[in-house]
Subunit: 467 residues, 2 copies
């Protein structure tokens, strides 16, 4: 078995450049799930991956059309399996996503977001690390194992790759709920996270959840001239500003009644571990944020704020005049895109209800407000008390020659809640991104050394689970 | 003379349809002064008007290149004169503007903004009433008088038409300051306002001024993922909301220290007159605003609020993600376009200094703010104690058979301050728009009956001044 693993590693090393070129081809497809005009690209990306899974030897490869709110109009899941490793051998469910965030602002990319470019050992493109590149590590680890095992795998594997992760993952949630039996596995492997520091293997054991909402404020029936009507006509932006200022104070405290009631503190074990991490707040501010000062609740450290505390952000405020120069309009309506990150044991549906009730209680004079829930995700803490965690840390030790750290992430991966809640499967968040990979931002990248080390880690992990 | 005036009226009536078709040709030119890509269209509109002024018999017709901040890069003025009416005959300076506001949101126009369309006795197009249509009344009144007087006019006339009214009029301000001697006249006639009610001739005796500003807030160095950094990275939109909420309270009171210090109350005469106007607040709310409720300082009536009280509006908040769906970005920067309407005796430069100092004192943690002044205009009250006011009210009485009302406008016409302050000329704000003309909004229109009655009123006014 060790011999086969060594052969798989050798195969992966011998094919590094081809693996990267294939990934580039996938990255050229602008599979932006939130923009309806890119729906054909999203499907094209799904078909690209399905074709490759078939080629390497996976079976039952198919696109699964999903149903959202009773309508079969979502982006497809890619499903595949290989289940011939024999009685008693565990099954690993490899999850990833092939959809990406929008690339705006386009003018801040050094090279275009959908023309992958290698610079300084990094591959730059939208989706390079989130999550096409990391999902591709799974596919390439499987290919390497198939090659080393003469068309077989040392472990049973299911692959499930979704196209709606960046828009809330409602399709996969429906599939897990309605057809979870088809996903039975002993452990879920997800590579959609980063490492706490370069060369420091990392498992994420907690994720924040979220609710993503829109507040739409309507004032006058039509856009009005601010000279003729200013002082009598309600201004939707002013109303939104007044409401947002009542949602979060300058200390980062969210003012929605009941919002913090179910927030659970991290365990003392976790807090102790995090204190041992090499974390320099000033260096983090300078290198990762670049703002004059960090913000947030002053009574918590930065890692606690981003991993264990809920927060609220405004992502954009469409409406009115946004061109260069001056237009003296009082817009008829304006929107604020507002999301809240949630932590255990907050419940998205409860938080949305509290938020909606509070917003409706603070509507300024003269305007009407509609509160919309765009999507939500459960906050999650995953168990570390299982043999798969041991296999993962051991595999990564062989590659990185150092112990794995257990941390949390402030981000949300909606499907993790579905796997844990609906299917009760242990879930490994074993990712190989770096903290400065510019996720969701211009110049997203994947450090290519980590792409290759990730493949080797996954080869070793799968071999160990099957051993 | 009465005979010539009757002949001019007859000429105007006989050419109504041609006048409208010419106006449509001018309205097809998208002379949007604030958008650099339309600069050639702005110049084309200027040349169109200059050509017509030459054709009807005006002399010294030329485009005047203006200088802004020492750079000759503004939109040109159109100048013309005819000064042979003889010794002792007064000179009238006819002012108008040929630039227009942007037409967004385009999808709310019933017919495209730059394809003029007649419906129900109205002409719909961007600029129909503000100010191409009203400026064209001047040109057509002059043409009618030239025809009736065999190529002469009964009065000395200068024409000055600018292309930067919608962007603050810096070019004309420079020209008035530096070359005001070339504009010597006894009275200025401006048709860029509306009537208080249909069929009610109206002279505006006060205008609000304004400062138009941008607040740019910068947080992180680049756009960041709100999951990974939310709770530590500053959010420019949240910061802007917190600042805007401190600029204006929910009663419409502006909170900038010193802001109201120089606000002068209207005269008791004015207040008495306004009480006699047929103004139904509920009907105004329903027909002109269409919001659930009117806003503003509760201790003032609506007309006082929009005519005599300063106010603050937000016109748009560029930055972040404004597409459909969800993008979980903490934008590196965001902007708020904020203007304040000013009233006598507020001074724009002083108000901007107060605003800037106050904004800089309320900057939330973690962000940096730049305050920019885009343009400004003086608030103004014009004198009614001169013979030209009598000529105007008498001319309009002949057309409308009713007495003129004297009101104020909440809007700003920057050049009025320049004429009054620099050249000390009495200024008549005699316009023929209607309150529901949708200025600066989709479906801007001009009621064609008023276009023609306006031409007749101006013919009679010019004849009376020359009599």
């Amino acid at each position: 078995m060790a011999e086969n693993t060594a052969a798989a590693i050798e195969f992966a090393r011998g094919n590094q450049q081809r693996f990267v070129e294939e990934l580039k081809a996938l990255l050229r497809i602008p599979s932006i799930s939130t923009l309806p005009e890119h729906a054909p690209d999203v499907r094209r990306a799904a078909e690209f991956i399905a074709g490759e899974l078939r080629r390497i030897g996976m079976e039952n490869v198919r696109l699964v059309e999903t149903v959202t709110d009773g309508h079969p109009d979502g982006h497809p899941l890619v499903y595949a399996d290989w289940l011939h490793a024999g009685e008693g051998v565990p099954t690993v469910l490899c999850y990833g996503h092939y959809d990406v965030q929008p690339a705006e602002p386009l003018d801040e990319w050094t090279t275009p977001p959908f023309e992958p470019a290698e610079r300084n050992g990094n591959l730059y493109a939208r989706g390079a690390v989130d999550d096409k590149g990391q999902m591709w590590m799974h596919v390439k680890a499987l290919e390497s194992l198939f090659d080393a095992h003469q068309g077989k795998l040392p472990v049973n594997v299911r692959v499930l790759i979704e196209g709606e992760e960046e828009v809330g993952g409602e399709g996969i949630a429906w599939f897990v709920r309605e057809h979870g039996g088809q996903l039975r596995a002993d452990v879920v492997l997800i590579s959609d996270t980063d490492m706490f520091a370069p060369d420091l293997p990392t498992l994420y054991v907690g994720l924040r959840g979220m609710i993503y909402t829109e507040l739409e404020v309507r004032g006058a029936r039509t856009d009005l001239h601010s000279g003729m009507y200013g002082g009598a006509a309600p201004n939707p932006f002013v109303a939104l500003a007044q409401m947002i200022a009542k949602l979060k104070n300058e200390d980062g405290r969210i003012l929605i009644p009941g919002f913090y009631d179910k927030v659970a503190a991290p365990s003392s074990d976790e807090l102790r571990t995090w204190k041992t991490l090499a974390f320099d707040e000033e260096r983090y501010r300078e290198n990762q944020i670049g703002s004059r000062e960090l913000i947030g609740e002053p009574e918590y450290g930065v890692l606690e704020r981003i991993w264990t505390r809920p927060t609220l952000d405004v992502h954009g405020m469409p409406g009115g005049f946004i061109g260069a120069g001056a237009k003296t309009v009082i817009p008829a309506k304006a929107v604020a895109k507002i999301s809240m990150r949630l932590v255990p044991d907050q419940v998205p549906a409860e938080i949305f209800a509290q938020y909606k009730a509070y917003v409706e209680s603070i509507v300024p004079r003269g305007v009407e407000v509609t509160v919309r829930l765009i999507h939500s995700a459960d906050p999650i803490v995953v168990s570390t008390d299982n043999p798969y965690v041991k296999a993962a840390t051991s595999a990564m030790h062989e590659v990185f020659a150092t112990e794995t750290v257990f941390v949390r992430s402030g981000a949300s991966i909606p499907v993790v809640g579905d796997f844990v809640r609906e299917l009760n499967m242990p879930t490994l968040l074993m990712g190989f991104g770096l903290p400065d990979d510019n996720l969701h931002a211009p110049n997203e990248k994947f450090h290519l050394a980590n792409f290759h080390r990730g493949i080797e880690s996954i080869v070793r992990f799968l071999a160990k689970v099957g051993a």
